[in-house]
């Protein structure tokens, strides 16, 4: 029973939101490679969704393009989620390892990513009045991902329903703290760099004079 390849496991978990992760855990399956590929596809999907969406349905400020927000919204957010969840759940008797949390959560993102690509393609066939279909697909993809993500956390740590909800709430708090610390650290580093640079220029002037 359940002798599936890694690709088949992805399909199994996505299409069995409530049992899939338990099976995945039981069979000790899941690939980190696929997980990274999914995050890369998420990064591409965010850009595609923002840039290639039909003009009459979505028009972003296009005088400049900055890739950093897309990196933050995909890689950084996901990393913060995984690390935040791991650090919270190790304290709350969670069973999941960092690797497992990464794999399980990234599988949960698949409906969202598919939704991003699907709405982008579909937007080129629909007019404004039919945009309600796109909204519909958007919410279906989002809801599916939420359910998957909840069950991923639930089964990776072997929690009860309420404990999972609490863990997710605490994870979001932990993410905020991580983000805050990153910003703080970056501004500190910036100050240090400016300080070193000003010393450097000062010495340079002295040498010249």
């Amino acid at each position: 029973m359940m002798d599936l390849s890694e690709k088949q496991w992805v399909r199994h978990t996505v299409f069995h939101p409530f049992e899939g992760y338990e099976d995945l855990r039981w069979k000790k399956a899941g690939s980190l490679k696929i997980s990274f590929l999914i995050i890369f596809l998420l990064f591409i999907a965010l850009i595609v969704n923002n840039r290639l969406y039909a003009f009459h349905l979505w028009n972003d400020y296009d005088k400049l393009f900055n890739i950093v927000p897309y990196i933050v919204r995909s890689v950084v957010f996901f990393g913060a989620w995984v690390i935040g969840n791991w650090s919270v759940c190790t304290l709350l008797d969670g069973e999941g390892t960092l690797r497992k949390i990464c794999i399980y959560s990234s599988y949960a993102l698949i409906p969202y990513i598919v939704m991003l690509y699907a709405t982008t393609i579909l937007s080129h066939f629909l007019v404004y009045d039919e945009g309600v279909f796109l909204t519909c697909i958007h919410y279906i993809g989002l809801g599916w991902t939420y359910i998957l993500m909840f069950n991923a956390i639930k089964s990776v740590h072997q929690y009860s329903f309420i404990k999972t909800a609490a863990a997710i709430f605490l994870t979001i708090v932990a993410m905020l703290i991580i983000m805050f610390l990153i910003v703080l650290l970056m501004s500190l580093f910036q100050k240090v760099i400016i300080f070193i640079y000003s010393i450097y220029t000062e010495i340079q002037y002295r040498i010249k004079v």
């Binding site: 003009f55 009459h56 066939f125 007019v127 404004y128």
Partner: protein, 490 residues
Amino acid sequence: MIFVQGWIKKILTGLLSGVIISASSWGLVYADEAYDVYNYDRWGEAIPSQAGYLARFSVSGSELGTDDFSSPGDIFIDHNGLFYIADSGNNRIVITDNGLKEVKNVIDNFTYKGKTLTLKNPQGIFVSDDDEIYIADTDNSRVIRSDKNGNADLVIEKPVSELYPENLTFLPQKVIADKAGYVYVVVNNITSGSVMYNKDGEFVGFYGANRVEKTSKVLWKYFWKLISADNMKKYMKDSVPAPITNFDIDNDGFIYTCSNSLTQELDAIKKVNAAGYNLFADIEVHFGDAPTADYSNNPDNSYVDIDINKDGLISCLDYSTDRIFQYDEDCNLLFIVGSSGNQLGTFRQVSAVESDDTCIYVADSQKNTITVFEETVFGSIVHQATKLYNDGYYEEALDPWFEVLKRDGNYRRAYIGIASAMINNGNYDEAMKYAKLADSQWQYNRAFEGWRTEFINNYFGIISLVLIIIATMVLVIVRHIKKAKGGHRK
């Protein structure tokens, strides 16, 4: 081969235009005006633009053959094209010919019921189509109606009514009259609109008040009022709207008002219908300079005068930047004219604006002159195209719009106009192209809808055939895979 050539052509034109653009950067462009002419793009960012109006000349009182003006407060052009200038500092009304070349008449006193009335700091002037002159005689607290020879037949004073607060002074600033003879007076300490009188000078009520902007401060006040006791409420001030500063009336009898409030942006410019409702309230428009330059919520523009010409073009005079913002009847920004300064075409302290078919006239109460801006060729083409477009003649407007683009490729309205015409023609491919250039999603949506319908009508047979083939192929493959899998499982 054709494709390759097309590509080469595109690259070459791109390179060439790049060279031209870099060569004609700001310093080298020949500009006639004493200020940078600009307009706004779709994102609310200021971009250089062609001038729609050029300052031709400015006249002082002595150039017209009379004493110099002293802080002129208002100008008015009557139906014969004569100019009426309220020369506030000299307590007189100056009437000149229609080219602003020489003085025809100067009125400084009126006979009313055998008495002689003199003016004191008259701030407003209006002339009706049956040649009755209305003067807001500000410091004498009255409005005078007279004929051209100075025979006054009506003097309006502070209304005696329980609606009108008794303790307030009555200093009429501006005056207009509608076709029925009703007189409207702007008094700057009244926030409930202009004061309205009937033909016989009897007080009727107030007309055209602004709304109160729902800022957080106002809402906070409202909240406190809800929970405070009655004797506390007595000491609380009501939230009041900004008073109107000036107004004008168009051919159809609609009154346009402006407000010089720097704190309230709501109803700064409005078109009032007979019921007192602001017809511009539902149009998504931001009058004056775009807020992108300044991230505070306080509007920077403060309008002291507004004028509507025969074609329905709205000219708003901004006191804080000394600019005239010209809009068409649907509130699309056409041109921005003027600036602060001492040269021709710039102002020190603007006080009044008036416009006719081809010119804009601006009074400066510090320079004591009237500056005449004349429409450029570009301006006249834009006006022609706008008029045709707004009247629904999209295809007739096509040629002028292309002409506009030849002179200013950044003029967004031209792209919208062309896209509309193309949609009407059924030329959806081109329409989509121009709608995209105009950055107009709404036009693009219309063009795309048309294009899609046409596409489906033309290729319905092929599309359905392809779909059926794909569907059957998918079915066959799926069944095949299932069979293969089932065999393994067993």
